[in-house]
Amino acid sequence: MATIEVKDLYFGYKDEKVIDGVSFEIEKGNLVSLIGPNGSGKSTMIKLLNNLYTPWEGKIFVEGKEINSFRKKELARKIALVPQNSSINYDFTVEEIVRMGRYPHKKRFQREDEEDHEIVEKAMKDTNTYELRDKAVTEISGGELQRVIIAKALAQKPSIILLDEPTSHLDLNHQIEILNLLRKLNKEKNTTIIVAIHDINLATMYSDEIFMLSGGKIVDRGSPEKVITKRNIEFVYNLPVAVHRNKYTNSLSITPLNV
């Protein structure tokens, strides 16, 4: 059974259609990248998969159950979101933020117990943020904050993690650090990871499967080798490119040609 199943999904803001009839399935334990130009519907798709928006038409199933039929906390125990812009202007400590990830597992008056502390500590260690635990989130770098938000997502103990452009504001070294972390989580815990990302070369290096979006439709999907073709890229981005195999990483790589 697919962990996520989307059927004939339509959605838009006011009267502007953004998702235009999308259907797909995602297998458990896959690392899936959504790529496509700005406005292609990547971010919107991520939010729809987290039930933040209500579709105009169509249905989304999570582990076989329709997404609307979940209680809010129940869904948060299955799916965690790492939003695009996580700037926090209030001086919570790193540990306080990560501890918030336990919210969906707790009743309103239930206190955190030893197990919660262990999960939070493990989440911080896995994301290399344990040393930062007493620092205020207002005082750490963008890359560090992104890791903290991922730690918070891990503390939710989800089976699916959605990330919206997790690397877009980061330096190259931090981009690689985050993606290595995601791949490690994916391999070690069999967590399904769905990431909206605009860097095609990074997507190709890390993904099991790539969905290429354009104008709210899925133009092509499958392994990087199937999707990242000269024809697809030139069609979607309207840009002449060369697709070649990178001899260092052994993954496909694109180079724009009209430079």
Binding site: L52, K73, E74, A76, S86, I88, Y90, G101, Y103, R108
Partner: protein, 336 residues
């Protein structure tokens, strides 16, 4: 720990501020008089060495006034702290966003029309204050909202415009109903003077209950500070929490305003001060703001009733005199 310390300071302040005034009374006597009123304990406490006039001053005038001050200061500060978190906006406070003037407006209508329909022992004036405040906050938030956000500038503009408009209508009522002038003047200036036990008792249970219930939402408020979509994705029912917190805060403020009138700046500066010292966690911030607000309020009232003794100033003037410059100082300090 911090909360215990603040509670102790609050209790000592109640004793200390009760005695300061024109008559010469010792702090310890306040506690003795209070204890002498409690069944069982009173057998062990003798206050026969105290002049009867002291007992009368403390028991019938000072003590209800100081306790009312604690309740008003605590309600305004806790509501301010919760609203600042809810709107993620440092300028949100009951005075600025029009709740206080809405409540005063509702109370004025009840006084002028002489309506009397008390409910659950809450007076008509308090009920009308609550209705007026809910109306005002609904109007202000709908004017201030730009798509899903409530920016500081529009919040301030909408709040100030609504407040001024409602205050103008109140002034109109004053001119037209000159026999109620004194009452309405108190509402627009804010005072804790001459209330006695009755109004204090009638608002204490609703106020304290709403303050306790507000603390049920500390986790949700904390998570909402990290962003609304993020909170929603973590299972927080954001829209429901917003409504609960808004209604609870409006309720506790209206209860206070219906007795004391519009007292500004308390709900703005106290939460800021507490947040700077103790951090943003609502679990600490809400109760600590209430305690510090109570202490600040009775201190301001002490100044109001002693500075030009035997005359009195409206306490709203004192809170503004302390609050305005202090707030500017905080703004400067946080910029650096």
């Amino acid at each position: 720990m911090v909360l215990l310390g603040l509670s102790a300071i609050l209790i000592l302040s109640i004793g200390f501020f009760s005695v300061l005034g024109t008559a010469d009374i010792r702090s310890i006597d306040v506690f003795r008089i209070v204890l002498s009123k409690i069944p069982i304990i009173k057998r062990h406490i003798s206050i026969e060495d105290l002049p009867a006039s002291h007992e009368a001053i403390i028991w019938t005038i000072r003590l209800p006034r100081v306790l009312l001050g604690v309740l008003v200061g605590a309600s305004l500060s806790m509501a301010g702290a919760a609203f600042q978190g809810l709107f993620k906006n440092p300028m949100a406070d009951p005075y600025v966003i029009g709740i206080s003037s809405g409540a005063a407006f509702g109370a004025t209508i009840a006084i002028v029309l002489g309506i009397n329909i008390s409910f659950l022992n809450i007076s008509t004036i308090s009920i009308f204050a609550f209705i007026g405040a809910l109306g005002a906050v609904f109007i202000v938030i709908n004017i201030a909202r730009v798509s899903h956000k409530i920016p500081t500038t529009t919040l301030l503009l909408a709040g100030i415009a609504t407040s001024q408009f409602l205050t103008a209508i109140m002034s109109l009522f004053m001119v037209m109903n000159s026999k109620d002038l004194a009452k309405i003047v108190y509402w627009t200036m804010g005072t804790l003077a001459g209330k006695g036990w009755k109004p204090l008792v009638s608002i204490s249970i609703p106020s304290i209950t709403s303050m306790i219930i507000m603390n049920f939402f500390v986790k949700d408020l904390n998570i909402m500070l990290t962003g609304e979509e993020s909170a929603q994705s973590m299972g927080v029912d954001v829209e429901k929490v917003k409504i609960y917190v808004l209604v609870l805060g409006t309720f506790m403020v209206s209860m206070s305003v219906s007795i004391s009138g519009i007292i500004g700046f308390v709900g703005l500066i106290i939460p800021h001060m507490v947040r700077i010292v103790l951090g943003a966690d609502h679990k600490i911030l809400l109760p600590a703001s209430a305690l510090v607000g109570g202490i600040f309020m009775i201190f301001a009232d002490l100044v109001a009733r002693t500075v030009i003794s035997p005359m009195e100033l409206p306490v709203g003037i004192i809170t503004a005199l302390f609050g305005g410059p202090f707030f500017l100082y905080l703004l400067r300090a946080s910029k650096r």
